[in-house]
Symmetry: C2
Subunit: 330 residues, 2 copies
């Protein structure tokens, strides 16, 4: 499934977001300019800016799309800031995980020293904060800082969990909320703040962001079991190979808690054969369907929250996005 | 020389800053709470918050010191945010440098994995941003993000410089401006913004911050040659041992460009004997006096800038601080 056609609605704004992400700064070290060009050239779905732009337009009685007035500038800056923050976290994630490729392209840490990669990530955090100041809203800036805290907390929980301590479904949902949900919540809620939405609307936006982010991450985790390697852009079973236990494996262990194929991987036996055996075991079980159903359930909740927002093209595009989140192949 | 007595003026506010730095957050991973307690318990001079608090009070016609009204809260949040940002950069610096102690206490990376340390630093960046939002000023938030960019740029320049490429004095001043000056500028200028100072006052505050920061860093670098190990809290010659060429060595090389004792260290021969020989060479040269004179010159410029600000206790305390910066032994 390709991204929904209705996203063409904001094609113009997305181009301006892209331009803002790549905007040069004469004070910036040329290596950082190079890193920024590389990071944003290597793709990415721009889902978070898409959510921000659609929600912002949806909530305005008389939305402008000129791209250059103060209001448009606010929306575009917000969308760019969310994507910049997302990218900064990925730069540090890739050092921490020792990942050498992302979306098929080499990561920064694949060729740079850890020091230069850490500092570039820090620079991108600062740039995300600067972009967020262009919204002119202190409340939005506060949401940004809280979102980054949630992300860091979630990753620390994952990193500092005792070895071999298995996640249950509730723990998994907490983890992916922090990892992915928090930034979707930020994109949706901050748009509402800029559009001066009332508290009920803000609550609907938060629920939408959270549920969409969770649905999206469950599908990401599912694709590591049942996706096509060429479409996903990385070898299947990468999560298991890193000892990362995601929803399909958790469902599998609920019915087969003693299955050695998974337990081997959890306990650290992560050679190619062991990983393949675990992958096959989960793939041939009910766990896949159960996980798919759970993703659909969260997408449905996201859609339900949207129905509390004003009808129209933008709402339809967000509904399409929730549908896409659970029906995509990559 | 001990810190100036006039700093007692803001003793109450500094206690409140400390409390804010240590403020717990139920959503925070307990390891981060532990890290925060450790980082702020291991001392530090709190010079940046001191500058912020004194400048903020100095610029108000009728300054309040209750510590709890909105205005006091603004000043204390700003001071805490600057110190939190400073601390976050140190956490990442220590990973990058592989430093195992700071101010005599173990660094986070001495006992934590690089991943957990990176994430804790990221969390502290987010917390610094959140504290900055409590000032309620988007302009202040913008200054924060720009200051962090300057710091990261400076460190990247240092890290990515070609091996064996020697710094000259101009390059050194640029580096220490980014490393130390930028945060002193932030402390002083942001206070001016909160106090709604006019543009001439803001310019005086920037000059004061920059020159004080530079003077302070030159003395830090000097103490690595001529300080007392017990007072400085680390072995002398640490910079040279890491290949970091600071002002005394730069002055030395200006008159003795072929001196093998320094060139050995620059070229990577950094064993104990080679470092000691280089240390001795610089220590017994004019370079020390020249560096001291340069530090005094910057402190004098900082004092000159202060004379453009309103007279009184706070201005005197800031003058004392500039004096302390160049006359301290640790």
């Amino acid at each position: 499934m390709n991204p929904p056609k209705s996203l063409h609605l904001i094609a113009n704004e997305l181009t301006l977001v892209e331009r803002k992400l790549l905007e040069p700064d004469p004070d910036r070290h040329q290596a950082v300019n190079g890193a920024i060009a590389h990071l944003f050239a290597s793709g990415g779905k721009r889902l978070r800016p898409t959510v921000a732009l659609l929600a912002f337009r949806l909530l305005q009685a008389d939305p402008c799309t000129c791209g250059s007035c103060q209001r448009c500038e606010q929306g575009i800056s917000l969308a760019a800031a969310v994507e910049m923050l997302h990218t900064a976290t990925l730069v540090h994630d890739d050092i921490i995980d020792g990942a050498l490729t992302r979306r098929g392209a080499p990561t920064l840490n694949a060729s740079w020293s850890p020091g230069a990669t850490i500092l570039t990530g820090d620079y991108l955090f600062a740039r995300a904060a600067e972009l967020a100041t262009l919204t002119g809203s202190v409340v939005v800036m506060r949401l940004f800082s809280r979102a980054l805290m949630t992300i860091c907390n979630g990753e620390l929980h994952q990193l500092l969990r005792e070895r071999h301590q298995l996640l249950d479904r509730a723990g998994y949902l907490q983890r992916i909320y922090a990892k992915t949900g928090a930034l979707f919540v930020l994109a949706a809620e901050a748009s509402g703040v800029l559009a001066e939405a009332d508290s009920e609307t803000l609550e609907a936006l938060r629920v939408f962001g959270r549920e969409l982010g969770i649905a999206f991450q469950i599908v990401d985790d599912l694709l590591d079991f049942v996706g096509s390697e060429s479409q996903v852009g990385k070898p299947l079973g990468s999560d298991l190979a890193q000892g990362l236990v995601t929803l399909p494996a958790i469902y599998f262990l609920e019915t087969s808690p003693d299955d050695e194929r998974i337990l081997n991987v959890v306990r650290g036996r992560r050679g190619r054969e062991a990983t393949q055996a675990a992958l096959e075991a989960v793939r041939n079980s009910e766990a896949i369907e159960l996980s798919e159903a759970e993703a659909r359930q969260h997408a449905a909740r996201a859609e339900e929250a949207l129905l509390r927002l004003p009808e129209g093209d933008c709402r339809q595009a967000l509904l399409d996005l929730a549908d896409y989140a659970v029906n995509r192949q990559s």
